[in-house]
Amino acid sequence: MDSMTVPAITAVNDFVVKFANVNGSGSASANEMFARAIVRMGVPVSPRNIFPSNIQGMPTWYEVRVSEKGWLGRRGGCDLMVALNAQTWDADVAEIEPGGYLFYDSTRPLKGKLREDINVIGVPLTAICTREFTDPNQRRLFKNIMYVGALAGLLDMEFEVVEGLIAQQYRGKTQLIDGNRAAARIGYDHTRTHFAGKIGLKIRRSDAVGDRIVIDGNAAAGLGAVYGGATVAAWYPITPSTSVVEAFTTYCRKYRTCPESGAARYAIVQAEDELASIGMVLGASWNGARAFTATSGPGISLMQEFLGLSYFAEVPSVIIDVQRGGPSTGMPTKTQQSDLLLCAYASHGDTRHVLLFPEDPHECFTMTAQAFDLAERLQTPVFLMTDLDIGMNERLSQPFAWDDARAYDRGKVLTAEDLDAGKSFGRYEDVDGDGIPWRTIPGTHPAKGAFFTRGTSRNAQARYSELGEDYVYNMERLRTKFETAKTLVPPPVAQPALQPTRLGVIHFGSTSPAMAEALDILAADGIYLDALRVRAFPFNAEVEAFVDAHDFVFVVEQNESGQLRTLLVNECEFDPKKLVKVLHYDGSPITARFIAGAISEAMNSPRLRPLIPTKG
């Protein structure tokens, strides 16, 4: 640590550590262990994977934001760079905040001149491993756990916590536990000896985590599908959705294996493509099972024709869309919220679909489970609109809970008893005035209730009909049904400003943690905004009232065109001038800094400036 032109950053439980690794080098689990150790010390973290569309050899990054205050959005910037990839070295070094720290493997001496405004921490990881271990595999792999130990030492973390995680990860494999523990200890002792008191970043035990859990959104959605009663899953692999069905498979094996026979209470089919996936979902749902698929934008594009059938023939379906950057193959390993319009109006003709917007893994769980109730109640497609940021990153979330008294809402299904009791059945008749007709499941009754499902127009008795009035009856009923949907979907969550204000902000999905933090930053600057987190489409009355109650409403989104705003303008007929776009779409998760910056800037426009209360 040489001459410094800027003071070294000092921070306790509030900084960003970034790991620059080579994809496939085994660093991923070490990095996760580092983040998990901080959580175990009671300090909130939000880790994020930044990775290429590639399996081995390309650069990857893992960013860990530590925040005692509990801000889980991406912060931006980097205070401590763990630079372990020669390929990206220059850019990684350049990214460090002035006064920040560079951690590297000092086995080989640095070439050339480094920045003078950063602190350099060299640990000869390779040399130590070569010295301590003889097996070439161990030499390579233990380097990862060794830097975790070294960082723990550097940041003043409790070594017992790291030890505990190692023991948990390799439970039952004593040799692996011993080896990993030894390697971690060597790293820990090394930095304690050589760098004690020389670094201003610290992790101090806290109780800010509470009873929260750490899980990624895709795993939570897979679990939600188990709890939601899904028995059929059909899918085609696509980043970033693949791990949804993988998790569903794992949890099904665990929780859905018949204890007597060992047989499966579920069926999972890897289809030949997304057309087949959604076709299977429709076939299964039509036949009375709860079925879903998980995909991303390109898959939704392929499903269009079937989605129209699901809507018009009124066959329930649940589609989990883990959004990534489009159009086309776009940015397959980057995050976006850019499939809203694609999903809201999927398919030809006049269609409208129900969308759910989870903010985090907790809501991925609850909303996936709820999606099955909604799809069966409304007999229509229901989309869970999650994204890569939520789906593929571990996130601190509220613990899961399930009300054991809750029964699945299977919707309006006539049983054989109902039919025998003389209940009249017209498949597409609006008998209850809510636009939702009754249905029967194939095989129910020997003489009553059979009907022919088709995508062509038909009358209320499900008979083929090209009569204009029959068609209009159906379309109007579908419109009524969509109105009914507004009363069933999850309502928005309001966060009123600390002071009365005529300004509002609407956001949704993975923007949530960055938004919360941005509101805090803006309030400190005297800019107060009432916030509304929209959780579903169609928008219900509360969303309309919120926009009506404000002069200007910022709409914060992670796409290029303002797709939620388009939906708001289109469906609620708001004056577009009232809705101010705040758009982030470079593929990285949106940050509080970005939102606060964009809103402050907009506040300086002549249109909005008068709305800022003058201080004092």
Partner: protein, 351 residues
């Protein structure tokens, strides 16, 4: 237009099968296809087959894609649920349905355009996946519903009604089904009810993917001289390898044939297929032999029909997935939802 239901006059007097149904109970709405369309004969054969098999109509699910052929499920088994899906995608819908309830009988009806052109992918994957489904292609070599364009099964050199010669090589769905692992593969002709009805019966009783390619002339667009899918052409070139009879119980074995003339195949459900040889020796349990036979005779310009292949030990997708005996759509909330206690235990592992 709206269809008129068929009058059910006089059904009291009609004979009933063992399940208590008359032949009428297996009929559907009045067909709207062209008079003389081969597809209507296939619908009649389906009605006959279901009646003779004593199937309860409501335990059948009828699936189809889009086309004249795919409309037909409305014209048979009126007491069954039907699903007329989208063009070329019947197989996936049928797969999903079969996953949801393993106890129903699935009957998929498709066209040559529906299965060999737009839907060839789904056709192939349903076969290789082992879906328990009777899959009938009503093969007329053209797109009937869009007015007579060639489909992918049209033979090279066959002439359209407008006089255009087809230059593309044909896809033989039977050859594909054999190669892809279908466990019951047959070809027949809509004009040969004697052959077709038992083949459908055998397929409905088969466990696993049962495929029947039925040549079914389109009288409006492909029944002229120069077509290889016309009534005349198919009659002249039909080379049947066997005649099938389906016997529901093991013990009721036909004895009126000379030894060596009959071959018995017992299917999974105990029903028996009695195969009467025609002409040369043909072993319908030899998949490779079937493929060779098919290709050799196709090269001679012959249309090979009959039960070309059957696997006596066939099983299906549910077996591969090891699903529970009870249909998935009957599982209760308790069987499906692990409950809060399990969830709390899981939470504890995520901290």
């Amino acid at each position: 237009m709206t269809y008129i239901a068929k009058p059910r006059l006089g059904s009291e007097a009609l004979p009933r099968n063992a399940a208590g149904f008359t032949r009428r109970d297996y009929e559907g709405r009045v067909s709207t296809l062209c008079a003389g369309c081969g597809h209507d004969s296939i619908s009649a054969a389906i009605v006959q087959a279901c009646y003779e098999l004593d199937i309860e109509p409501h335990r059948v699910a009828k699936m189809s894609g889009i086309g004249c052929s795919s409309k037909t499920p409305d014209y048979f088994l009126g007491a069954s649920h039907g699903f007329n899906s989208v063009h070329g995608r019947m197989p996936s819908v049928a797969t999903g349905a079969a996953l949801a309830n393993r106890d129903l009988t699935y009957l998929g009806v498709s066209g040559d355009g529906d299965s060999a052109s737009i839907g060839i992918g789904q056709f192939a994957h349903a076969m290789r996946r082992g879906v328990n489904l009777t899959y009938i292609v009503e093969n007329n070599g053209v797109y009937g519903l869009t007015k007579g364009q060639f489909s992918a099964t049209a033979d090279k050199g066959s002439k359209s009604k407008k006089g255009v010669l087809n230059a593309d090589s044909p896809i033989d769905l039977v050859a594909l089904a054999l190669q892809l692992g279908a466990t019951y593969v047959a070809r027949s002709f809509s004009g040969d009810k004697e052959q077709l009805v038992p083949l459908i019966k055998g397929a409905l009783r088969h466990k696993g993917p049962a495929f029947i390619d039925v040549l079914s002339p389109c009288v409006t667009f492909n029944n002229h001289a120069g077509s290889t899918k016309s009534y005349d052409y198919v009659r002249e070139h039909n080379e049947a390898v066997n005649r099938v009879e389906v016997v529901l119980q093991r013990h009721a074995i036909e004895t009126s044939y000379a030894p060596g003339e009959l071959r018995r195949v017992v299917q999974h459900d105990g029903s028996m297929l009695l195969l009467r040889k025609l002409g040369q020796d043909y072993d319908p349990t030899d998949r490779i032999g079937a493929m060779n036979h098919l290709h050799e005779h196709a090269a001679l310009g012959e249309i090979v029909t009959g039960l070309l292949y059957v696997d006596e030990h066939a099983d299906d997708l549910h077996k591969h997935l090891n699903t529970v005996e009870a249909p998935l759509n009957t599982l209760t909330d308790e069987a499906l939802c692990p409950g809060n206690e399990v969830l709390q235990a899981l939470n504890a592992t995520l901290r």
